[in-house]
């Protein structure tokens, strides 16, 4: 199957939805990388570069949104959620404006650029802003659906996209995005692997590895990190007794934390979290970085075995 990065799907979705919806797109000199350039090429009159000034971009986006328009503002996750956090909180989040933050190059899969550009904190940062919707789609199909959802949603949305190409896990003909709902990719009863974003592929591969050991794993993809699907988490806790979260993000503040919050309050179960630990990223090829940070399917498999053992 052909591979595609979710950032590619983001740019294509903006381009393809431009005739159907009225919105403008801002970028901070990274259009070629965030793929808003795909939109810019087709609709230059609705694309506005802010130059390398992410803070200004977020507040400008808010200003445009006050006039009743939908605005996409894009940069790398590091400079959108990180550098411009306060502008997003105060100019966009607090007045609950229709700004959609298209953040690409999230996580260690940025690769060679290294720690300064590998944002491992953005989900935690964005999740903490009242009223902010946080979406981390798994593949190109889900990415496009998330963009269309964001356009129609009244309020701010943080969209998390990745640089690394991945295979699709969903079927375009049947996929439908629903806010606050996880997607069951594979049913199972012994353990639940719960991934977000492009880690869905690893989650499915892990399920195959476990199958060879006679373990029947459930696999759930969680694009909607906020709001989160409490029901699917509680059901997984009750029916499988053990959950392993998988994300290209720090285990502090991301999906692992969000799932832990639900489990602790609603239905305690054994939990293991795969992601970067309390550490910065580093330069390297994504495949090598997954090994370095113990995030490969084999690592996930080990975490599953440990979780099952401790039920």
């Amino acid at each position: 199957m052909a591979k595609k990065a979710t950032r590619e799907a983001y740019g294509e979705a903006l381009r393809d939805l431009a005739d159907k919806y009225d919105f403008v797109v801002l970028d901070a000199d990274l259009a070629a990388a965030t793929k808003t350039g795909t939109f810019k090429k087709a609709h230059p009159e609705r694309f506005f570069d802010t130059g390398i000034a992410e803070g200004n971009m977020m507040s400008v986006a808010a200003g445009i949104a006050t006039t009743g328009k939908v605005v996409f503002a894009s940069s790398f996750a590091m400079f959108a959620a990180g550098r411009a956090f306060e502008q997003i909180r105060n100019s966009v989040g607090y007045p609950h404006l229709n700004v959609k933050i298209g953040a690409t190059h999230a996580g260690i899969t940025v690769g060679e650029d290294g720690a300064t550009h590998q944002c491992l904190e953005d989900v935690g940062l964005m999740r903490s802003i009242p009223g902010m919707v946080v979406l981390s789609p798994a593949d190109s199909i889900e990415s496009k659906a998330c963009v269309e959802f964001a356009i129609n949603h009244n309020g701010p949305v943080y969209l998390r996209f990745s640089r690394m190409a991945v295979e699709d896990v969903f079927d375009e003909a049947t996929y439908k995005f629903e806010l606050g709902k996880g997607n069951l990719l594979k049913d199972g009863k012994d353990v639940t692997i719960m991934s977000t974003g492009i880690m869905a592929g690893f989650a499915l591969q892990t399920a195959e590895l476990l199958k060879n050991q006679g373990i029947n794993a459930r696999v759930i993809s969680m694009a909607s990190i906020k709001p989160i699907d409490e029901d699917i988490i509680v059901k997984a806790a009750k029916e499988t007794g053990a959950i392993v979260t998988v994300e290209d993000h720090s285990i502090i503040g991301g999906l692992g934390t969000a799932v832990a919050e639900v489990l602790a309050e609603k239905s305690p179960a054994v939990l293991r979290r795969i992601g970067t630990q309390d550490t910065f990223g580093r330069s390297g090829k994504p495949a090598d970085l997954f090994k370095y940070f113990k995030m490969t399917p084999e690592d996930i498999q080990e975490a599953c075995m440990d979780a099952i053992k401790n039920k």
């Binding site: 000034a53 200004n56 808010a62 100019s91």
Partner: protein
């Protein structure tokens, strides 16, 4: 509106602002008083707005980028009829919509939520850009403090507005020379403000921020400028209109006690009485 009438409006705005700060026992009187004359001209002579239809699509926009001077904005909006003047007595109270800093979702007439310095002027740029994109005739005004412009984002916005030729944007820099920690010249010298904006490609007008002819002339001149935004650098007196507050940095962010409040109101009433003669 005649200058004399506007000046009376400005003194009422000052009274409203001080009533809000006194009632809350907190807030920022100094920089509210320094912009009261400008606020009177904007809201009673210049802006295309309708208090009965605060969200009118093609209205002129106003952004108080130095959001801590909300008493001046709220005092002006109340004076203009957006909400009852009595509401000002609930400023900063938990059961009131009048937040410490301007909040657009629940306060009639507030076009942008501000308070974190430097963010408002960028939002004003976004409003102006939207006006250009969708071919609207409204104009966008913003007021910044001379301390606020120490924020780097102000200069990101300055570059941005000039780049996109936002001639529908006119900002006022309230140059009262004082910020919380002392004179701007000592804390972080932001002078020369006019030359900075000129270098960023703006049309710059220097005025006395308490002279009505000059404020009106600057607003008229800004409308004639095509292809670039206008920055009006206005020299003002912090605490203007209340003798013991003028040019005193201690009144940047502290509230008067009962005796001080009564004296301030008496002084402002005396100014109004003199103008009314």
């Amino acid at each position: 509106m005649h200058n004399k009438e506007l000046e009376i409006k400005a003194y009422n705005i000052r009274k409203n602002a001080l009533t809000a700060v006194y009632s809350a026992a907190s807030g920022h009187p100094g920089g509210s008083l320094s912009i009261a004359d400008l606020m009177a001209v904007l809201y009673f002579d210049e802006l295309n707005i309708d208090p009965a239809d605060p969200d009118m699509e093609d209205r002129d926009r106003f952004v108080l980028s130095k959001g801590h001077c909300s008493p001046a904005l709220y005092g002006t909006l109340a004076e203009r009829g957006y909400f009852p003047i009595d509401d000002l007595k609930r400023f900063r109270q938990v059961d009131s919509n009048l937040q410490g800093h301007p909040e657009m979702k629940h306060i009639s007439g507030v076009d942008m939520t501000t308070g974190s310095l430097g963010l408002g002027v960028s939002a004003a740029c976004g409003m102006a850009l939207s006006g250009k994109i969708y071919k609207k005739n409204y104009r966008v005004y913003a007021v910044l403090g001379d301390g606020e412009i120490e924020e780097g984002q102000v200069w990101e916005a300055a570059m941005y507005a000039a780049h996109y030729k936002l001639d529908n944007l006119c900002i006022f820099v309230d140059s009262n020379g004082l910020q919380i920690d002392g004179p701007t010249a000592d804390v972080m010298n932001s002078d020369p403000i006019d030359k900075k904006y000129e270098a960023f490609g703006w049309h710059v007008i220097k005025i006395d921020g308490h002279n009505y002819d000059e404020i009106k002339a600057a607003l008229a001149e800004a409308k004639t400028i095509k292809g670039k935004p206008t920055a009006v650098v206005m020299k003002t007196v912090k605490g203007k209109g209340v003798s013991y507050m003028e040019n005193q940095v201690s009144w940047h962010g502290s509230a008067p006690n009962e005796e001080q409040y009564n004296q301030a109101i008496a002084e402002l009433d005396a100014h109004i009485a003199q103008l009314g003669r």
